[in-house]
Subunit: 550 residues, 2 copies
């Protein structure tokens, strides 16, 4: 066991070795780590099997629920991990894998991650994190300033203030959104007269005290699925998350929002928060934030912006105007593990007012004492790692202008690809990119013509066949393992809001070249040929429609 | 910028380099990483400054809220991190730092962490995690089996079932506890007739439907502070978390629990969950789980065990009997980043019944489709990293008997230290160890005698002076940086339940030797001498009490 000696015994001495003696320079694990450090892409190319193994078969390798009674040598286990786990993991950083929001990572973050993990700080309190606490507060300050652009005296006063907090670092956007809505809910149902506040007395008494029949959070119908989860957890109920209709570019209609609020109030339902989306998950569109802010101001309603994906756009002076109005939000979610190129597990929520989080502040005897600067008194999570260090390092090494370049090239690449798709006779661009996301599908000109001329049931039928084809192509392309686009379902106005399955592309990886984009289309054309029966059905129906219309 | 070339420019070419070209073999970052890999303890000893710098001074290094406009060279920034961050971080793995629940890490986890981070999988869905999904399900299965000991057919049927879940991997114990109570709340207020369930309609309507006046979760007065946070988030309110009194070993009194439940029901308050603590944070005591289970069964109440700290004890066949009754729990929290020696950020909650999590299941269009095996449909968090890989590797390389040895030696070391303290004429053991935690304070025999003989105000006064001394010693010892114990406040019955500040010691680091323990006491004796005024006051009051009593 434990380091690579030929005795697989379990003695206390051998156990101590794993805490004191590193793997030798020639050990399997060291060799692998070195290869990975020298050339990550090559390592992944060599070790990740391209062709997809069926999940059922992979599961066979992970079917034993017993904790082993025999220790394994580190070298043997490392080989086992390479064979069963690494080989069947997803090559998220491959430039041809353009279906995810997870892309390549800067190299310097890998050794820094190791240092962060070796330090094993716990950010819940100063006593187990020391300098990591002010560092995390600074990172939150930097993101706060990126959004709200307050002046130096503001940050000097609040950034390190024990009883205030500019936000919370958390494991991801979901926890960030829950935190924002938690704060908003507690501020909306705060202590008042005899009532001690929802945090103390709970939601039932709060509702009775305030005399509401219900609570509501409003968001466009394109809001992230996790918001339903947030509404459930917070006791508002999924039905309390009210979907507002969007325009044909997936952006909330302010008029519809205002009307919904009026309707809710007429039913004595309190709309305590509105969420603006800055970068929808499916198409990367941005709500009209200024207009939402105006409505929230006049309704005294918390305005939260879910910029988990799009927030990084603020780094670009050329494109930050797309998010105009975000500075009017009461709170904003940004995921650093998306377009800030940080490894998985780095979400943040920022609050405009340094005292906003008072409504969720908590203390205890042995930890988070009042007046302490312990970060844990303002976070939903307890023990947390020092991930903020990686954001801090990336901010310094890449710098704002560096991020600007990355953001700009992503958006421009998406625009290029959109144009390119539009020039193809056999593809249809379904949503054009506002950020670096776009959607499209395989739709040859004569089929498009048929779809346009078709009516009623025939339209639906033809569309359904096309959906099947899109699904087939996406799945086969993923399984083949050379490239990857994701898929989703949209309801484009130009096709009468029919359920339309589309390829979804996220172009955040700076290594994705124009050649790769062409190859992705080429590959999809080839895969189409592998569905002759489906194509025959489509052609037949299309001919029928055209013949009828002439 | 960006790799170590002498041009600190921001061009797209230089940006591409950070995604494609690793730091050179002679770079500062590579050198540092290598040193750390060769000898972690030496690296930390060399780089972490022993003597504590005041937080206010550290904050000066982290005071700029502007995102840099100039990129920094990786080498320069690495040096900056060493000087400002690493040097003032906490040496959590030092064998003389015995105040935390964070201890040393096995060496092999460091290179494995780097591989995990480089793979950058997202466990929310199969498409971005592939083999990591079955791996995480297996890890959950292993922990489930450790607790519930079901047979092979059970795990064959449920471990990889798309519509079931044996638990959730999460960032830590707090999220694990919230998840358990979320499930319990939703099961207690489930769909019924016209009512669509609390998850859909929210807490207010649920309470009206079921006709309750309130909800309650019961836990001993020694329950973790995060449970209050959970009660707040879930809309129950902190007052809905009802504290039940404990015996003189910090264990919940089952009789008092049963009485509280009866009282609550008489007020039409629904006690929907009881939490048993398996390893209190302050003293490591374990509630009588079997007796709690019986009460929960007869009350049809969800029984959750918070074994964030103590759960790992199940690995030891010699001590797992301490947690007898845990197998009767409906859900259990275990933190792998505590006594399973995994880096920060590895919590888990396990559910006895594979369908328990149905009540929080969620789906969406483009992700977590029904019937998919995506882990995200049963987790509070969304995007998550592949931390489960580290638990999996440690289970295989250390194995159950290896963990048994680690657990056994921790408990036995704590027993040794307790005996050792009791033999000292100038220290008082305040709580003896059930697991590897104990508390004590500096209390020379003649002062103890005075404290015993004192009455009323004089007892309080003397005790208060002793509290001041304990605080002083703990703080000075931490600041000096040679060793570290934490402190907390207890109310020992032998001192009439007076607020008593004590040193708190957690002996989980296998490298902590008996010599180190003696040195910790030695150092404390020396520090006492640095408080001559306080000692003089204590001596004077003690003499006065003794004189009066004779």
């Amino acid at each position: 066991m434990i380091s690579e000696h030929k005795t697989a015994d379990v003695s206390f001495e051998s156990l101590l070795r794993i805490f004191t003696i590193p793997e030798g320079p020639d050990s399997t694990l060291t060799t692998i780590e070195e290869k990975l450090s020298r050339n990550l892409n090559q390592f992944l190319r060599e070790h990740i099997v391209a062709e997809e193994k069926p999940l059922r078969d992979i599961e066979k390798d992970f079917s034993n629920a017993s904790i082993p009674e025999q220790p394994q040598f580190v070298s043997d286990h490392t080989q086992h991990l390479l064979d069963t786990l690494v080989s069947h993991s997803v090559h998220t950083s491959a430039p041809s894998f353009i279906g995810h929001m997870t892309s390549a990572l800067p190299y310097f973050l890998m050794p820094l991650s190791k240092i962060m993990i070796a330090l094993n700080q716990n950010l819940v309190k100063i006593e187990t994190s020391k300098a990591f606490t002010p560092l995390e507060r600074q990172v939150l300050g930097m993101l706060h300033r990126l959004i709200y652009a307050q002046d130096d005296p503001f940050y000097n006063q609040w950034m390190h203030s024990a009883n205030h907090s500019l936000g919370a670092f958390c494991s991801g956007g979901t926890i960030a959104n829950i935190t924002a809505l938690w704060v908003a809910r507690n501020n909306a149902l705060k202590a008042d007269g005899d009532f001690k506040g929802v945090e103390k007395e709970g939601l039932f008494k709060a509702m009775k005290h305030y005399g509401y029949e219900g609570l509501a959070v409003l968001v466009s119908e394109r809001g992230h699925y996790s918001l339903k989860k947030a509404a459930d957890v917070l006791g508002i109920g999924q039905e309390g998350l009210v979907a507002v209709k969007t325009d044909n570019r997936n952006r909330i209609c302010p008029q519809a929002l205002a009307e919904k609020i009026t309707q809710l109030k007429a039913q004595n339902i309190k709309p305590f928060a509105v969420i603006g989306v800055a970068g929808t998950t499916e198409t990367g569109n941005i709500d009209p934030l200024k207009e939402i802010a105006q409505i929230c101001q006049s309704e005294a309603c918390h305005f939260h912006v879910d910029a988990a994906w799009g927030g990084a756009t603020l780094m670009s002076n050329n494109y930050r105007h797309l998010l105009d109005g975000i500075e009017l939000a009461d709170s904003v979610t940004i995921d650093a593990h998306k377009q800030l190129y940080i490894p998985m597990g780095a979400g943040m929520v920022l609050f405009k007012r340094p005292d906003a989080m008072k409504s969720i502040e908590h203390h205890a005897q042995y930890i988070l004492r009042k007046g302490s600067k312990d970060l844990g008194s303002h976070t939903l999570e307890g023990s947390r790692s020092g991930m903020a260090m990686l954001v801090y390092a990336a901010m310094h090494i890449i710098s704002r202008p560096g991020y600007e370049l990355l953001i700009d090239q992503s958006i421009e690449k998406a625009k290029y690809f959109a144009d390119h798709i539009e020039q193809q006779p056999d593809f249809e661009l379904v949503s054009d990119p506002e950020l670096c996301l776009l959607t499209y599908r395989y739709l040859p000109e004569h089929i498009r013509e048929a779809l346009e001329k078709s009516q009623g049931k025939e339209t639906e039928e033809l569309n359904e066949l096309l959906n099947e084809l899109t699904k087939f192509v996406q799945k086969r392309q993923r399984e083949t393992g050379k490239s990857f686009v994701s898929r989703t379902r949209l309801n484009p106005s130009r096709w009468g809001y029919l359920n339309t399955i589309v390829f979804r592309v996220v172009l955040a990886n700076p290594l994705t070249s124009r050649d790769i984009l062409s190859t992705v289309l080429e590959e999809q054309r080839e895969i189409v040929k592998q569905a002759p029966n489906l194509i025959a059905k489509i052609e037949k129906l299309a001919q029928h429609v055209i013949a009828k219309s002439n």
